[in-house]
Structures are given as structure tokens and as C-alpha cells.
């Protein structure tokens, strides 16, 4: 057997192993990323889906945030416009978590329809890019002469 063939066999073993690892890791740790509407559809179609760990991306309903006195638990509602679901998160909420931000919650839907989140990521559209429009209403701003 010449070296080229041996090398190719070795390479195939490594790549095959990596491929298996990848497939396995996806099966074990891959999670659905859904909107509340899609989650609802899936659970209606298959009630056992409720226990599956999923990620839900949606917007926090303004005024719905209730922080427990301990500070360790926060409950709120998220919506995608079509469907709204209540969420309970145990843990420390990030700085960016406020009314109206887009969040990604990871966890599972309980039987009572509440989503129990184990992680909470808050994204803010204004985090790095900021529109100056909100200053339009502030006193002291002058309109530029329209040319």
C-alpha cells in the first residue's frame, strides 16, 4: 500500500470521526428556534412536543415584566404579534433586558402554557446602531433649513 492511499485512509478516518461527532452533537444539543406562533402550532399538532427544549425568539410585551422580590426570578410575556406566551425565568437577567426588547429564551413549555426559561438573551436593536430620531421631540433641537 503506498503512502498516498494510507494518508487518504487516515484522512477519511479523521474526517469521518469529525462528521460523526458533528452529527451526534447536533442531535443531542441542537434546538429548535421558533417564534411563539410556531411553538403553538407545533404543540397543537403534537402535545408531547411541549416537553422538548426549544429556543423562542420574540419581543417582550411592554409593561409585562414582574421581578420577584428575591431578584432571582422574573416573569414577563413575549409576543411575535400573532401569539403571546408567558415566560418565567430563574436567574440573573442581563442589563439589556427591558420593556420592548427582542429576547431569545431557552427552556421548555410547561403543561399550564407557561414557558420556563433557563437562559435569557436580550438583543437590542439600538445596541450598536442608534437612530437619532428620538431626539426630534426634545426641546433645543432645531430643524435644518430645507433646501
Amino acid at each position: 500500500m503506498n503512502a498516498r492511499v494510507k494518508f487518504l485512509i487516515g484522512g477519511a478516518v479523521i474526517l469521518g470521526g469529525a462528521g460523526l461527532l458533528m452529527a451526534n452533537a447536533i442531535k443531542q444539543t441542537g434546538e429548535y428556534y421558533l417564534t411563539p406562533q410556531e411553538l403553538e402550532t407545533k404543540v397543537t399538532a403534537d402535545p408531547s412536543f411541549a416537553g422538548t427544549g426549544v429556543k423562542v425568539g420574540a419581543r417582550v410585551v411592554t409593561g409585562s415584566i414582574v421581578r420577584a422580590p428575591s431578584g432571582r426570578e422574573v416573569s414577563f410575556r413575549v409576543t411575535d404579534g400573532a401569539q403571546t406566551i408567558p415566560v418565567v425565568y430563574r436567574g440573573i437577567a442581563p442589563d439589556t433586558f427591558t420593556d420592548g426588547v427582542d429576547v431569545v429564551v431557552e427552556g421548555r413549555l410547561a403543561a399550564d402554557g407557561t414557558f420556563h426559561a433557563t437562559t435569557l438573551l436580550a438583543k437590542c436593536a439600538s445596541r450598536y446602531e442608534n437612530a437619532p430620531e428620538k431626539y426630534r421631540a426634545t426641546p433645543g433641537y432645531k430643524e435644518a433649513a430645507k433646501t
Partner: protein
């Protein structure tokens, strides 16, 4: 000046178009007058891009809030340094910054090659001109940094406080310098493919520019990790976020290329592979920009979505099509001059190194794009997180670490038993001894034990090489050890610079393995209350809360907590963590609150304290983390970068290349 800047952008666009057309035409028709005109146009493009950049900087410094860009990213009370760095804080400015670097690189490449590589240069200039043209077009027809508002705000929104950090001031430019430098090897590859000259000269030019790119990416990624660690306050430095992965991908393929190019130099093998790697590295750099800019993949970094994404998709498509066509029509010229002779040889070690690096790159790319792929194929988005990346990359990374020790020592072509014994007896002993020591001390985490044992092996190979080299110099020249060390490295920069890079790799792996021993505690503390815990080394810690304090500074309100720690009863320095709310000159709150992490750095571990929240004005939610060996991540990265600098530093009066390159030279192929 601002108006001049805006106009310069359009002039640059026209000049770059001229440069592209004349260069390609000059190359194809062999008209030296057209080539010369193209090169002058390249210099002119650079001048106009510099003018445009000067325009944007002037606007930022003079706080001209009538520009949307200035109003969006700066405010009147922003510190001066960050007014300057706001240049690349947003989309349009980043594009201009890309352009500035690219046109500068292009001008340097054209200038340094004015007397050499004359056959390649028209196509190099043409390709780079075309890429510059693309970036100018995204600004002229897409989103311009000079866009005006139809009203003038009295103040801007300000720069995100998380970006107001010295690391963030220098991290993006380094990454951009690295990303953009991949364009030059790409242009040389295209030129070499068109002219069918894939040896000697293009190798030298491509290697130098790849090193430049590798160096800046290494520095940029390391700074990025440091910034994430000290600024974001989640306790880690790498989250496998799409934006982070995007910066790692070209680094991985670039590293693979820097190894495989040695095989082409010495043996004339792997030509197709090398061309592919150069092109892939560039495409991944573009893909990286596309991912961070288009918003196709949701990332916590969450840059704004913008139409510029489509531009990049188009650019990627065009580049892939052009290269695929060129490679397919030139397969015959890319045949190897030699065959692999043995599995126990440096060639084989390097090939496996390449396979692993590209394998890692592929798995990272796959994991990053998986949400899109699964949605396209199965109709539902499936995401993979850190567990996926760790499961795949830990084993591959460990194999790669092992090869780091094998590659540099094993003989070319076919290693003899004597060669193996001479080179590997001591290092293998070093590895086994490390393993025994770890197991005896009670360490049981499999991947951490494997990492440290392999690190012991590789570290011994490096020490052995330096020991032999220094010993030889001492015998031959009677030099003292420090002088022998310096001269050894200075006279053989590629070899010993490479070893220094590898030493950095060993340190990095040791630091990564330290994560296995991380300990995290979430605590609720009132003033005077205390918390007791044990660190990974078995020391008893006690943290006493000094209570919360409130303060107001120039542009921020601060709530701070102080913790007085003791280790095994001995008092340690106070650790403070803050929550800051920034406000603008109108006293309006800007941005979400930001956290300032309290870190007590150490060689053995960091104590990392985050004030996560405040309840009822007197109770603090605190996260206290012991992060073993984190310090070494930054220094491992910096040692790698220094090694890279040594490798690429030009050597005056260097020895003639040996092996394949020398044969090519004497045969007059160059």
C-alpha cells in the same frame, strides 16, 4: 472638508473603475502604457479614499450632527479618543474603513512590486481595484457615511458604553487589517491562475501577505476575547457566537495555508490545495463581513440589518464563480511535482495538520450556518450552541496540539527510526511525565488531562530545539546563553519564530483547559453580609460586602459594590463592580445600563465579580466566579503574535532557500 470627502468617494469610485479596466486590459494586451496608467490610478484611488476618510474624521471631531452617521454614534460629551474610533462603530463607516485599508494595501503591493513580478502585477492591481470598486459602490449606491439628516440635532446619541473601552478602540482595526490583507494573496492567486505562473514568485509574495493577515487576525481575535471578558461581564471570553466564529474562520484556513505552503516550497506538492486555501481564506473573510453585516444569522452582537448584505452575497457568488472557472481550466498547470513518500514524514504531518485545521474551520462554519441550512432543508430553524462546538473541536484541537509537537521535528520525505528516536525520546518522556504527575495529583477531567499531557510533550519539543540550537552556538562561537538565544532566533527567523508561535499555542491550550475547573457562585448580599466558598485550588475564600454606593460622573450614574475578600484568612485587595447608566448632555438616559466587572487578575486564576442587580436599594445580586488560568489566554495570544512578527520580519542578506525553491531558481524558472 466634509463635502470634499463626500465628493472624493465618487471620484475614487470612478478612478478605481479606471484602474480595474486599464490594468486588466494592459495585462491581456501586454500594453505597458495601460498597465502604468492602471497603477497610477491605484495610487489616485488611495489618495481619494484617504481624502474621504479625512472628511469623515473631520465631521466626527467637529461634531457635525447634521450627518446621520455622526449623530448616530457620537455625542458632544464623548471622550476625544472614542470620537476618533467612532469612525468604524457603524455600518457605513466600517465600509469606508475597509476601503481605506484595502486601497492602502493595494498601493503598497503595487509600489513594492514596481520592479518585480511584472507579469503578475497588472492582474493583481486589477483584482484589487475591482474589490475596492465594490466597497466604494456599497457606499455610493448603498449606505453612505456622509448621508445628511434633514434636521440638525443639538446632540448625537453617543457611542455605546460597551464600545468605550481601549480594547474596543484597537480590536476592530486589527481584525479589519487582518480581514482585508487576505485580499492581496487572493489577487495574487487570481493573477497567477490567469498567467499560469503558480510557482516561485507568487509563493513568496503570497506568503508575506498571508503572514501580515495572520498576524493582525491573531492580535484582533485575542483583543476581542479580552474585550468580551472584561467588558461584557458574562464570565467568559469565547461564546461561539456567529460574529466571533466569523473572525476565527479565515484565521484557521490562513494558518493551514502557512503550513502547507512550506510543502510547496520544499517539494512542489499541494499546488491545487494551496490556491484553494488562499481563495477560501479570502472568501471566508468576506463571508465574515457578510455575516456580521447582513443579520442573516441572529447574533447577540446584533449589528443592524441592512441591504448591504445582498451586495456581499453577490460579491461572494462572483468570486466563487471566477475562481472555480480559473482553477478548472488550469488543472494541468497545477499538477504536483512530487508524490507523498511515507506516512512517517513531515509532509504527512503537515497534511494532517491541514486536514485538522480545515476540518475545524468546516465544523465551525457548519455550526454557524446550521440555522439557515436547517431552515432551508427541513423548514424549521435549529440552532446549535457551545456544546456542539466543544464536542467537535475539543478532540480535533487536541489532535492538532499533538501534531504541533510532531511536525517541526520529523524528517522530510521519510523519517528513519534513528530520526524518530533522536527527536522524540525526550519529548515523549516529557509528555508521559506530565500525565503521571497530573493523575497522581488527582486530576480526572479527561480532556483537561489530555490537553496538559500533550502540552507537556509539545513544550518539551520546543525546549529541546532551543537547547540544541543554543548549545550548538555556544560550542561554535563561545557565546553566552542570552546572546546565543537572540542570535539563534535572529539568524533563523522562520524556524525559531515558528517555535515561538507554537509555544504560544501550547500556552493557549493550557489556558483553555483551565476552563474545566471554573467555579461560579450566585450570591445575594446586604452590607456587612458575607459569603464563603472554595476555589479550584482548594483555598477557602470569604467575601464580605462593603455595601452599595451611588455616584454621578461626567456622563454616567454609578451604583457600585465593594467586596472585601480573604483567602485562607489572609486579607486580599478590595474588588469592586459597578452598574453604570450613561446619559447625554440633555440628561437623558442613553443605552441600557452597563456593567463594570471587578477582576482580580492572577497567574493562577482570576476572581471575577459582577454586580448583576440591585433589589430594594440595599441588596446586591452578585456573581462571583473563579476563572483559572484566564490570564494566559491573553499572553498566549500575544506570544503567538510576537512569533508571527519574528517570522515575517525581513531578513537582510538571507541564506538561499533550500530544496524545491532552490531547484526552481537554479533552473531559471523564477
Amino acid at each position: 472638508v466634509i463635502l470634499v470627502g463626500e465628493l472624493s468617494l465618487w471620484v475614487a469610485l470612478l478612478v478605481a473603475a479606471w484602474a480595474t479596466i486599464t490594468s486588466f486590459a494592459g495585462g491581456a494586451l501586454r500594453r505597458t502604457d495601460l498597465v502604468a496608467s492602471g497603477e497610477r490610478a491605484i495610487y489616485a484611488t488611495w489618495a481619494f479614499v484617504v481624502l474621504a476618510s479625512a472628511g469623515l474624521w473631520t465631521a466626527l471631531i467637529t461634531h457635525d450632527f447634521s450627518l446621520r452617521y455622526v449623530a448616530s454614534f457620537t455625542s458632544a460629551n464623548l471622550p476625544f479618543v472614542y470620537t476618533l474610533t467612532a469612525f468604524w462603530a457603524g455600518q457605513a463607516g466600517s465600509m469606508l474603513f475597509w476601503c481605506l485599508i484595502l486601497s492602502t494595501y493595494t498601493a503598497i503591493a503595487v509600489f513594492t512590486n514596481r520592479h518585480q513580478n511584472r507579469v503578475l502585477m497588472p492582474y493583481v492591481a486589477g483584482t484589487l481595484g475591482a474589490i475596492t470598486l465594490f466597497f466604494l459602490a456599497t457606499m455610493c449606491f448603498g449606505q453612505s457615511p456622509f448621508e445628511r439628516l434633514d434636521w440638525i440635532p443639538a446632540d448625537g446619541r453617543g457611542l455605546n458604553p460597551q464600545l468605550q473601552n481601549p480594547g474596543m478602540a484597537i480590536h476592530p482595526p486589527n481584525l479589519y487589517l487582518g480581514y482585508v490583507a487576505t485580499a492581496v494573496p487572493f489577487a495574487f492567486a487570481i493573477a497567477a491562475l490567469i498567467t499560469r505562473r503558480l510557482d516561485g514568485e507568487w509563493l513568496a509574495a503570497v506568503r508575506r501577505w498571508s503572514l501580515v493577515s495572520w498576524f493582525f487576525l491573531t492580535v484582533g481575535i485575542t483583543l476581542g476575547m479580552w474585550w468580551a471578558y472584561v467588558e461584557l461581564g458574562w464570565g467568559g471570553y469565547w461564546a461561539w457566537d456567529p460574529v466571533e466564529n466569523a473572525s476565527l474562520l479565515p484565521w484557521l484556513t490562513g494558518t493551514a495555508f502557512l503550513h502547507s505552503i512550506m510543502i510547496q516550497e520544499k517539494r512542489g506538492m499541494l499546488r491545487k490545495w494551496n490556491v484553494t486555501l488562499v481563495v477560501t481564506t479570502f472568501l471566508l473573510a468576506i463571508l465574515g463581513t457578510f455575516i456580521t453585516r447582513s443579520g442573516v444569522i441572529s447574533s447577540v452582537h446584533s449589528f443592524a440589518q441592512s441591504p448591504v448584505g445582498n451586495w456581499f452575497a453577490a460579491l461572494l457568488g462572483i468570486c466563487v464563480a471566477v475562481t472555480a472557472y480559473l482553477v478548472a481550466t488550469r488543472l494541468k498547470d497545477l499538477e504536483a511535482n512530487a508524490e507523498l513518500e511515507s506516512m512517517v514524514s513531515r509532509e504527512a504531518a503537515f497534511l494532517y495538520n491541514n486536514l485538522l485545521l480545515v476540518g475545524i474551520a468546516f465544523s465551525v462554519l457548519w455550526g454557524t450556518l446550521f440555522p439557515i441550512l436547517s431552515e432551508a432543508v427541513r423548514g424549521s430553524k435549529i440552532t446549535v450552541g457551545p456544546p456542539f462546538f466543544n464536542a467537535v473541536n475539543v478532540p480535533l484541537g487536541l489532535l492538532l496540539l499533538g501534531l504541533t509537537g510532531v511536525g517541526p521535528l520529523i524528517a522530510w520525505r521519510r523519517a528513519s527510526v534513528a530520526n524518530l528516536q533522536r527527536q522524540f525520546a525526550v519529548p515523549v518522556f516529557g509528555g508521559v511525565a506530565t500525565l503521571a504527575l497530573l493523575l497522581a495529583s488527582g486530576m480526572r477531567q479527561p480532556s483537561a488531562v489530555a490537553a496538559y499531557a500533550l502540552a507537556g510533550f509539545v513544550a518539551t519539543t520546543i525546549l529541546q530545539e532551543f537547547y540544541k540550537g543554543i548549545g550548538a552556538r555556544r560550542r561554535m562561537h563561545g557565546e553566552s546563553i542570552p546572546i546565543a538565544f537572540v542570535r539563534l532566533v535572529a539568524r533563523n527567523r522562520r524556524r525559531y519564530g515558528g517555535y515561538i508561535v507554537h509555544a504560544g499555542v501550547v500556552i493557549l491550550f493550557c489556558a483553555f483547559a483551565g476552563l474545566a475547573f471554573k467555579r461560579e457562585n450566585d450570591v445575594t448580599l446586604k452590607a456587612g453580609e458575607s459569603f464563603q466558598t472554595t476555589d479550584p485550588y482548594g483555598h477557602q475564600w470569604r467575601f464580605v460586602s462593603e455595601g452599595l454606593s451611588v455616584d454621578t460622573k461626567l456622563n454616567r450614574r454609578i451604583i457600585a459594590i465593594g467586596l472585601k475578600p480573604t483567602r485562607d484568612g489572609k486579607p486580599m485587595p478590595l474588588i469592586e463592580s459597578e452598574k453604570r447608566q450613561y446619559f447625554d448632555s440633555q440628561n437623558q438616559d442613553t443605552f441600557e445600563p452597563a456593567t463594570v466587572v471587578g477582576i482580580q487578575e492572577g497567574l493562577r486564576q482570576d476572581v471575577y465579580v459582577v454586580l448583576a442587580g440591585v433589589v430594594n436599594d440595599d441588596t446586591a445580586e452578585v456573581r462571583i466566579t473563579f476563572n483559572p488560568l484566564v490570564w494566559w489566554v491573553w499572553y498566549g495570544g500575544m506570544i503567538m503574535a510576537i512569533g508571527g512578527l519574528i517570522v515575517m520580519w525581513p531578513q537582510a542578506g538571507r541564506r538561499k532557500e533550500s530544496g524545491y525553491a532552490a531547484v526552481m531558481e537554479t533552473a531559471g524558472v523564477r
